[in-house]
């Protein structure tokens, strides 16, 4: 279970570029749940994901994962509990190293890296079996450098690597956004399959409304560093893309209204 309590983060505080990326965010993710975060650019959705991943320290608030208070854990230490897939297909793997070596690095996540030879025959069989489940024919190319694969294949492997050690939470940061439509659909399908098979808890940032409706069982909408909508259970069952779009409009209009009307009122009455 992931528990985020009154989490705030301001970037470039006290400068002209001040960004209040997260404002007192509270969120609880149940075990085995798959949640999507949607929102406009700069709404704080990626910041929320990165706060869990540990790329920065929050100003206030706490993050608990299972029984650990990970608020002040460095990024590499959290990795023992967290699997991640990045937006950039090249970010999650090492291009110059082989598929096998990349997977071996992921297999040892959260464990001591010993002085035993990494790529052995026993590993090879296990890796080939799991890579076969991707149905991309990569099991025959385990000794090829990962740089020779397409973005979609690399992202599928990154996903497999992220889920390999059954992390307490899987973080997906717009992981299909940089792929062509066909690969994106394939990776999205794999995402659903892997999360269901391994019964993972997952948090996914996405720009695609369709993906948010299709894949997860909960949708959170963020705006200006706040969670403004939370579609859960039956609500989530009913929600369709047009509903999300209209909510987006409503949220944005409310903001326009707030600023202009407040300004007008101020002029007239104060």
């Amino acid at each position: 279970m992931l528990k985020i309590e009154s989490l705030s983060k301001t970037f470039h505080a006290n400068t002209a570029n001040e960004v209040r990326a997260l404002q007192n965010v509270n969120l609880i993710l149940e075990n085995g749940s798959f949640t999507a975060i949607i929102g406009t650019n700069g709404s704080g959705k990626s910041t929320l994901l990165n706060a869990v991943a540990g790329t920065f320290e929050p100003d206030t608030g706490s993050i608990h994962l299972e029984n650990h208070d990970i608020t002040h854990w460095p990024e590499y230490k959290r990795a023992s509990l967290i699997g991640r897939v990045f937006q950039n297909p090249f970010a999650g793997t090492v291009a110059e190293m082989t598929i096998m070596e990349n997977i071996v690095i992921a297999m040892k996540r959260g464990q001591r890296r010993s002085l035993h030879i990494a790529v052995t025959k026993t590993f090879r069989g296990e890796v080939a079996d799991r890579v076969r489940t991707l149905k991309m024919g990569l099991e025959d190319r385990l000794d090829n450098p990962i740089g020779t694969l397409s973005g979609g294949q690399r992202q599928a492997l990154t996903l497999l690597m992220a889920a390999w050690t059954r992390p307490k939470i899987l973080l997906l940061d717009e992981h299909t956004a940089a792929l062509d439509p066909k690969s994106a659909a394939k990776v999205a399908e794999l995402t659903k399959i892997i999360i269901e098979q391994e019964k993972l808890t997952a948090l996914m940032v996405t720009h695609s409304m369709q993906q948010a409706v299709d894949l997860p069982d909960r949708i959170i909408m963020m705006h200006r560093g706040n969670i403004v909508e939370d579609y859960h259970h039956e609500q989530k069952q009913r929600v369709r893309v047009p509903d999300l779009m209209s909510t987006f409009d409503r949220v944005q209009k409310r903001e326009l209204f707030d600023e202009s009307v407040a300004g007008m009122l101020e002029e007239q009455y104060i």
Partner: protein, 315 residues
């Protein structure tokens, strides 16, 4: 012949320097200038211990440890104190100049008529040939001493190459190689990137100092100036090795680096024989490295122009 054996021996000794730099420059991608200081550190520590009568092997081990410490400091300056890579190296290198003078007590220590790492091999060889000072190999008369040094250095270089390639194939070594290529990825896989940088620099500079120790024993002196330009020599050797053998696997990369260093020393020996002024050596090497860094880009643009022309021809 003694010229060739000399170049080979020198190449084998300096291949340890190149292997160290392979780890820092190529694997962890750290532009580490500590090298110029740590090779002298290795030489001066070994010189002092050998002159005091310690075993040359023990002296070499001390050199390795001291070099590792120097590399570790460079790494900590960069990771802990957030000083730029190059500046961290420059700071340690500059400090090492004074430290080396302190260790030696003067700017030069001669190592004549002392035990070196090759003394044992020389004794065995002399027993085998019955005390002759020269050995006939394929019609060449080779001094026994030179051959002993050559054999000893080959054994050391091969031993270290094997250990290093095995290490780089372990779980730890694999993570180390990944850390240089994609720090973001290894952090997400639970590896402390900073630890990897510090460890790599320690290992790299340990090997460089070991190379300095052997160099001092072979040359017969340790000098506070001997490290100047060593980094560029190592880089040139690595580039030649990559051009020669490629880097499709760890074993090949390491073999390539050793062969590259030997070839580089041979080229230098030939150039000097042809009358290259030794004073110009470092400038020529610097120019060579420049050319080797820039040439691939030129070739790429050239080939693009060529294939571009082909495309137009098809249309």
């Amino acid at each position: 012949m003694s010229l060739v054996i000399g170049a080979f021996t020198m190449g084998l000794i300096l291949s340890l320097l190149s292997l160290g730099m392979l780890i820092s420059f190529r694997m962890i991608k750290f532009t580490d200038i500590t090298v110029d200081g740590s090779i002298t550190l290795g030489a001066s520590i070994s010189a002092v211990f050998i002159v005091q009568g310690y075993s040359p092997w023990l002296a070499a081990l001390f050199s390795f440890a001291a070099g590792s410490l120097a590399g570790m400091i460079t790494g900590l300056l960069h990771t802990r104190f957030k000083i730029q890579e190059i500046l961290s190296g420059i700071l340690v290198m500059t400090a090492l100049y004074s430290i080396n003078l302190r260790i030696m007590g003067r700017s030069n220590i001669p190592l004549l008529d002392v035990k070196t790492v090759s003394t044992g091999t020389e004794n065995i060889l002399e027993k085998m040939v019955g005390g002759a000072s020269r050995i006939n190999i394929l019609g060449w008369q080779v001094p026994t001493g030179d051959l002993a040094v050559f054999i000893t250095c080959s054994i050391i270089a091969i031993f270290i190459a094997i250990i290093l390639s095995c290490f780089l194939l372990t779980h730890y070594g694999t993570a180390l190689r990944a850390a240089g290529q994609n720090p973001q990825m290894v952090r997400a896989q639970g590896v402390n990137n900073n630890t990897m940088v510090v460890f790599s620099l320690a290992l790299a500079n340990g090997l460089v100092a070991l190379s300095g120790s052997l160099l001092a024993q072979y040359q017969g002196f340790a000098d506070v100036q001997m490290g100047i330009g060593m980094m560029v020599w190592g880089l040139a050797s690595i580039i030649i090795g990559e051009a020669l053998v490629g880097r499709s696997s760890i074993g090949l990369t390491i073999t390539g680096v050793i062969l590259g260093t030997i070839l580089f020393r041979l080229l230098i020996a030939i150039a000097l024989r042809w009358g290259l002024n030794p004073n110009d050596l470092k400038m020529v090497t610097a120019f060579f490295v420049f050319a080797a860094l820039v040439a691939p880009g030129w070739f790429r643009t050239l080939s693009k122009k060529f294939t571009g022309g082909l495309r137009y021809a098809k249309n």
